[in-house]
């Protein structure tokens, strides 16, 4: 039960205040302002407990969103509501900032009335809210379906015929996190993925989505020959954990492992998932650090692209940390552009585009300033960021069937678009150290300050 929801600007002025329960009033608003927004030290914890009231806050640009409660409620639930609130607001007025909040305050109050009822979360989908909340022109017919939607049977969908063509867009968006040891062992890897859909379908369609998950029963139905089955099985993906949009019929998933749903109109996030097995690493980095003497260090980084040559990665950027007593850097690289950024103590090596199976190398000679006291400095790992046009988890959409009972449009009439997009999360490789003779060492011993 959220007691109240407040939006502050950066100076601590209250832009929006909606209180749902007794006991959360102006003094709570002030208490949060004084202890969190105006606090001298930056407040790191997103949850603050002030005199019997808990505050949960997030920041977007120069705007603070805070929820307050006097009860012991699930913090994750509150944050989910706050993040949903942000999504909804961006959906309604593109960007959250002080001006937009001020401009749309009537709308926001309307939204808050629908999102939470007596402090309990009700509707968090932008599309369904669009039906509930008046935006500029009024619509009469919505009252009829209102009660229907309240019961949650067909979320955010009305029986409409308005699209000239029936279209459906599916985006598979993934981000890869990696930590690799100097010897190339994977210490930690995982992929966080989302399947986002955009539906422009008439009527009340039922969709059925097939993915290459290992326990996918739908696979067996379509499989004919042993040969393909083996090949397919190779390419299946093991999902550690996934969650679905409320429109997905969980019963069907539990029994038949098929994803059956009636999509809401417009854009929505169908599912989220996380995997950590059989991840295809798009890039392999091999960094070497060799100390020549007390005042000279040589760093060499090799990058290998590990995907089909027909694909191209974009916005590839590799950040190579330099010792803190660097006094000069000479860089040579075969491809791309490399630059020493003194303000962040890194060498940044960039490619606009790089095709699959390419190998490239960058080396840097670093001059060091001898330090008064020698302190151990452990080089942070080399990190990189990229975007690739495939799903590193190996996730594939096998099919999507659309069936509409009333309009009964043919399967072929539906135009389907699928896009895969992978990008880096925290993608790091630790350096291996060589001594003067090129032998591998466990730890560096050049003198730097930490």
């Amino acid at each position: 039960m959220i007691g109240g929801l407040f939006i502050y600007n950066h100076d601590g002025e209250v832009l929006i205040s909606r209180s749902y329960r007794n006991g959360i009033g102006w003094n709570a608003i002030d208490a949060f302002r004084v202890t969190v927004i105006h606090s001298r030290l930056p407040v790191r914890s997103p949850v603050t407990y002030i005199a019997g009231t808990s505050f949960f806050h997030i920041r977007r640009a120069n705007v603070w969103l805070a929820a307050a409660t006097k009860h012991n409620i699930s913090a994750t639930m509150v944050f989910e509501v706050l993040y949903k609130m942000c999504d909804i607001m961006t959906d309604f007025f593109t960007k959250i900032n002080e001006e937009n909040v001020k401009k749309n305050f009537v709308l926001i109050y309307g939204l808050l009335d629908e999102i939470l009822d007596f402090g309990y979360p009700q509707h968090c989908g932008p599309e369904e809210l669009k039906n509930l909340v008046l935006q500029h022109e009024s619509k009469d017919e919505q009252t009829q379906t209102y009660s229907h939607e309240e019961t949650g049977h067909c979320l955010g969908r009305r029986d409409i015929v308005k699209y000239r063509r029936n279209e459906i867009y599916i985006d598979v968006l993934e981000s890869v996190n990696l930590l690799m040891s100097p010897r190339g062992q994977i210490l930690n890897v995982n992929v966080f993925g989302r399947v986002v859909m955009k539906c422009f379908l008439n009527g009340l369609p039922i969709c059925k989505l097939g993915i290459n998950e290992r326990t996918d029963i739908a696979l067996q139905e379509t499989e004919s020959s042993n040969e393909t089955r083996r090949r397919r099985r190779k390419k299946t993906v093991t999902i550690d954990h996934c969650s679905f949009h409320p429109c997905v019929r969980l019963l069907a998933f539990d029994t038949f492992r098929t994803i059956v749903f009636m999509p809401p109109d417009g854009q929505f996030e169908l599912m989220r998932y996380r995997t950590s097995l059989n991840v295809i690493l798009p890039f392999r980095l091999i960094p070497w650090v060799r100390e020549v003497n007390r005042t000279k260090v040589e760093i060499r980084v090799i990058i290998k692209c590990n995907f089909r040559p027909s694909l191209r990665a974009q916005k590839v950027e590799i950040r190579i940390p330099t010792p803190l007593n660097t006094s000069g850097v000479q860089i040579m690289c075969m491809k791309g552009k490399a630059k020493y950024k003194a303000s962040e103590n890194v060498i940044v090596w960039r490619f606009n585009k790089i095709a699959g199976l390419k190998v490239s190398q960058c080396s840097a000679d670093i001059d060091l300033l001898p330090m008064k006291e020698s302190k151990k400095w452990v080089q942070p790992p080399v990190s990189m960021s990229f975007e690739v046009p495939f799903a590193p988890s190996g996730m594939r959409i096998h099919y999507i069937n659309v069936s509409e009972a009333r309009l009964n449009y043919a399967e072929q009439e539906v135009i389907k678009w699928v896009r895969y997009h992978g990008q880096s999360g925290i993608y790091e490789t630790r350096c291996s150290y060589l001594d003067v003779n090129g032998r591998r060492k466990e730890e560096p011993d050049f003198c730097c300050h930490a």
Partner: protein
């Protein structure tokens, strides 16, 4: 940015700083700093040499970055290079960097010292000043080692500029404070003292700080400064306000210098030379006169400066404590301030008066202000001032006004601040006790105290009431009556219930005659409070009930009923339950005679230092109370003031080492007499009291000059410690201080017998030391481990142990030891190994002497080491006939030793067996026809010979007697063994 001349302006630095200031976020600032650091690194690394200007600029930037809170690990070398520059600004930046960033153990310090040396030798005053400032700022030991010899020379050299002299004096002061052992004034002393005559006031001001500090350490060497200081002071005081030009501050001539001069004079007793003294008195009078003059300016700075001098003069007067005229004038002056508008002045006046009150000359004068002070206590808005007022009331209290003051304090207590309530409660309790004319007043006061501020009455206070009531017969009846009346209030504090329970339990019979306070009424009154009290109080009440049964047999059935109720006898608290059960049984089983013996009236408490006073001292720290207490002690010593405290004075008089038998109710004197035994840290203050001469000046000195105290807090407390240590050393009563080993403890024989049958255990234990033993023997050799454990938290100094073999034992026993560590840390344990060789049989035990210093007192303990002849037993197994054959062989009368003795321990055969085995002999089963008897055999191994021994022990269970027979081939062995073994059963 302030306008800077072109040559000095560092544009790069200004740009950098404004960049940093313009940074929107912390991250942006760090980025900018990283960029700048990279830039500076590349510049310092660069192949071409930097010119002085850019070096200065970059060092400045590094300094700025450091001050922003980032680590700087380079640039030190460049800063040191700047020192050798000839430009003032570059040198200045170099020194600045070094004094901020270079830590004292850097390897660069040698280079820096060299540069400083060059500057000191340069004869350029600005460079010399820079160097001196750097030395003072770093102030490390290395600096002191390098320059402590140099600086006095600069200070007294004739051709040194005034500004350099000032810097040199202050620099030397700093070095002296960090490492006093390295600064030797020696031959410079007189020339430094003569700096007081310097023309330049700045030099005098700087020098006087140095001299004050130095003279506190060695007053004798700097004694000559008194007359110089007095003449200087009189010149300043008598000068017209315009004479001193730059050093006149708001019409007051040289206030800082005057204050420092007055403070310097406080390091010394009054000058002996009449002329000097006359001049000084004249000065002080002038200062007091000036305070009466109308102010020359309305500015607050004028009055502040004037009052600063005045207060310092007053504390000097108090310090001298010899000019009644001046003291009274000072007191009057302070009296005027008591009603001043300024809160600070009122505070200071009260505080100074507190010390004035302890002087015998001005005590009466202070007492005239009692009304004002009481008024201040009641109406003052500032709590700290009220606190001082309470302190002053406490200090000015004596027999004549005690009643008034205690009454005022009690009435103030009802409205007093929570923070000072406890202290006031303690003060009231002490005053009431100290100046009690009649004890009914005392009892009334304390009971009032408990009633008004029960929560703040600590345990010590009500313990003390009970102690006094019990020790004084004449007040017991009154106390019982008052307590009874006080308890009748519907709500009374738990402390009151405690006092009530105790007193009625002891002396309820004294008021039982009155039908209104008949035994049953008393009991019902107490029991009505029972359920509201905490567990310890209930336990106390239960004890009071059982005492009631003894005092009034008619209440027995009622009380037994109460004890028998489930809420008592089945109480969940173990203590209460146990008491209820035991008291119930005691009351029902024991006869009245037994009951009367068990529950006899408590014997008088031994006199000791008032626990309340100790508590107050603990609260305020040493010094705060000690002055007034001391003065009280002084005044009361010899004169019988406190209305015939029979028991106390008797106790005090019986204590031979008491300097003067006094009837001090607080038992200060008897506390001081117990100095020899008092070793804990808590008794330090008591020790100080005993040294009424030197310690008095020491403690009053520290008290009055609390400002100086702030400068050197450790020193003054050190001196207190040293004093007390000396005091306890020099006291004749501390016989333990002598160097001869003390005679063996009387209980050491007993300790010895404890170890006849066992090899390991605790040999000795007192409140300081524990000695554990672990030993093993093989044939005629043995090894003993001694463990000395320090049970205190303080270290033992000079810890040493010696083992001696008295008399002929030297030829019988050979003991080798290694010396132990002389320092035993608090809570630590040291180990010592003894190697023992038995040459021939022996009877005596070797002596172990332990000596160490604990808290200044020498401890000297002598013990007997548990090495007995039986330790060298080798068990011998033999059959029945063998035994009797040998038994018969040893049938000569001198070979046998027999003893018949009564059992001291229960006759348990298992225990007996264990003991006999512990003896080292073999226990022979099935040898003696009577299975009750024990038979043992063994051979004692010495280097010279082996002695076979046979033992027979015949217990007689009915008579609880033993017969012990020992036969051995040597007479002395038989006898000694017989003695040893007989002690064991």
């Amino acid at each position: 940015m302030p306008a800077v001349s072109k040559g000095d302006g560092m544009r790069g630095l200004a740009v950098f700083i404004s960049d940093i200031r313009n940074c929107k976020s912390k991250e942006a600032e760090i980025k900018r700093i990283n960029k700048e650091l990279a830039n500076i690194r590349s510049k310092f690394k660069g192949d071409k040499a930097l010119d002085g200007y850019s070096k200065k600029k970059y060092v400045c930037k590094l300094l700025f970055i450091f001050l922003l809170g980032h680590d700087i690990d380079f640039g030190h070398m460049e800063a040191v290079n700047l020192l050798s520059s000839n430009k003032y600004t570059e040198k200045q930046i170099g020194y600045l960097f070094i004094s901020v960033l270079v830590n004292s153990n850097s390897e660069l310090i040698r280079l820096i010292n060299n540069a400083i040396k060059n500057d000191l030798a340069s004869r350029n005053p600005t460079f010399m000043c820079l160097a001196l400032h750097c030395i003072a700022n770093v102030g490390s030991r290395e600096m002191a080692e390098a320059f402590a010899g140099e600086i006095p020379r600069i200070l007294v050299a004739g051709d040194t500029m005034d500004s350099v002299k000032q810097s040199a004096a202050l620099c030397l002061l700093r070095l002296y404070k960090t490492s006093p052992d390295l600064v030797h004034m020696g031959e410079w002393t007189s020339r430094v003292v003569h700096l007081l005559n310097d023309q330049h006031m700045g030099v005098v001001t700087a020098a006087i700080s140095l001299i004050t500090c130095l003279s506190q350490k060695n007053p004798e060497e700097f004694k000559t400064c008194i007359s110089l200081a007095v003449s200087r002071l009189s010149r300043i005081v008598s000068s017209a306000s315009t004479d001193l030009q730059d050093y006149t501050y708001y019409f007051v001539p040289a206030p800082w210098l005057s204050v420092k001069l007055l403070r310097l004079l406080q390091c010394y007793p009054p000058p002996e030379d009449g002329a000097v003294k006359g001049r000084l008195v004249e000065c002080l009078e002038t200062i007091l006169n000036k305070a009466q003059e109308p102010p020359k300016s309305k500015k607050v700075q004028h009055s502040n400066a004037k009052n600063a001098i005045l207060f310092e003069a007053i504390s000097l007067i108090i310090h001298y404590d010899s000019e009644p005229n001046l003291l009274v004038r000072a007191c009057n002056q302070l009296g005027q301030f008591l009603q001043h508008r300024e809160t600070n002045l009122r505070y200071l006046a009260l505080e100074s008066m507190c010390t004035l009150a302890s002087s015998e000359f001005s005590h009466e004068a202070v007492k005239t202000h009692i009304e004002t002070v009481i008024n201040a206590l009641k109406t003052e808005r500032d709590v700290s001032v009220r606190q001082r007022a309470a302190d002053l009331l406490y200090a000015m209290c004596d027999r004549s006004n005690a009643k008034q003051i205690v009454a005022e304090m009690l009435s103030y207590l009802e409205t007093a601040d929570y923070s000072i309530r406890e202290e006031i409660v303690l003060k009231v309790a002490i005053l009431a006790e100290k100046y009690a004319v009649d004890y009914s007043w005392y009892v009334d006061t304390i009971l009032n105290l408990i009633r008004i501020a029960g929560d703040y009455v600590s345990e010590e206070v009500w313990y003390r009431v009970i102690q006094i009531v019990i020790n004084r017969d004449d007040v017991q009846g009154y106390a019982a009556k008052t307590v009874f009346e006080a308890l009748q209030a519907p709500a009374c504090h738990e402390n009151m219930v405690k006092v009530g329970g105790y007193i009625l339990g002891e002396f309820g019979n004294l008021i039982a005659g009155d039908p209104r306070s008949s035994p049953l009424v008393q009991f019902n009154l107490l029991h009505s409070k029972f359920h509201l009290c905490s567990v310890p109080t209930r336990a106390l009440l239960l004890s009071a009930y059982i005492k009631f049964i003894n005092l009034f047999p008619e209440t027995k059935s009622t009380i037994q009923e109460v004890l028998r109720s489930d809420s008592q006898i089945r109480n969940s608290d173990v203590e209460l339950q146990q008491r209820a059960v035991e008291y119930l049984k005691l009351s029902s089983i024991a006869s009245t005679d037994v009951l009367a013996t068990v529950l006899e009236e408590m014997p008088p408490f031994p006199e000791r230092e008032s626990s309340i006073l100790a508590k107050l001292k603990k609260k305020k720290g040493p010094g705060a109370v000690s002055v007034s207490e001391l003065e009280d002690g002084k005044k009361e010593a010899g004169s019988e003031i406190n209305g015939g405290g029979g028991a106390e004075s008797a106790a005090a008089a019986s204590n031979a080492s008491t300097p003067s038998p006094s009837a001090d109710l607080l038992g200060l004197r008897s506390g001081a007499a117990g100095i020899g035994s008092a070793t804990g840290a808590g008794s330090l203050l008591v020790d100080v009291f005993s040294e009424s001469g030197t310690a008095a000046t020491a403690s009053s000195g520290t008290d009055e000059n609390f400002l100086r105290d702030l400068d050197l807090p450790t020193e003054s407390s050190d001196s207190l410690l040293v004093d007390s240590a000396l005091a306890s050393d020099s006291t004749p009563s501390s016989a333990l201080g002598s160097e001869d080993p003390a005679p063996a403890l009387p209980e050491s024989d007993e300790l010895l017998h404890k170890f006849v049958c066992k090899n390991n255990g605790v040999l000795f234990e007192n409140h300081l030391l524990q000695i554990g033993i672990k030993s093993e023997y093989r044939q005629n050799l043995g090894r003993m481990y001694l463990f000395f454990g320090n049970k205190t938290s303080m270290q033992f100094i000079g810890f040493s142990t010696t083992v001696t073999c008295p008399g002929e034992l030297q030829s019988q026993l050979n003991i080798q030891t290694k010396p132990v560590e002389p320092l035993v840390e608090g809570g630590a344990q040291v180990q010592q190994v003894l190697n023992i060789e038995c040459l021939s049989d022996f009877t005596e035990a070797p002596l172990l002497n332990i000596r160490f210093r604990y808290g200044g007192t020498l401890q000297n303990i002598t013990l007997k080491l548990p090495i007995t002849i039986n330790k060298f037993f080798q068990p011998t197994e033999m059959a029945s006939q063998d035994f009797f054959q040998r038994w018969k062989q040893l049938s000569q009368p001198q070979q046998e030793a027999q003893k018949i003795f009564k059992a001291t321990h229960p006759m348990d055969s298992e225990v007996l067996k264990g003991k006999l085995l512990g003896l080292g002999t073999a226990l022979l089963e099935n040898v003696d026809p009577n299975p009750e008897n024990f038979v043992c055999a063994g051979v004692i191994q010495t280097k010279a010979l082996q002695v076979g021994c046979l033992l027979r022990l015949e217990p007689n269970a009915q008579a609880q007697m033993y017969r012990l027979t020992l036969r051995s081939s040597k007479e002395s062995v038989s006898k000694r063994l017989c003695e040893l073994v007989a002690e064991q059963f």
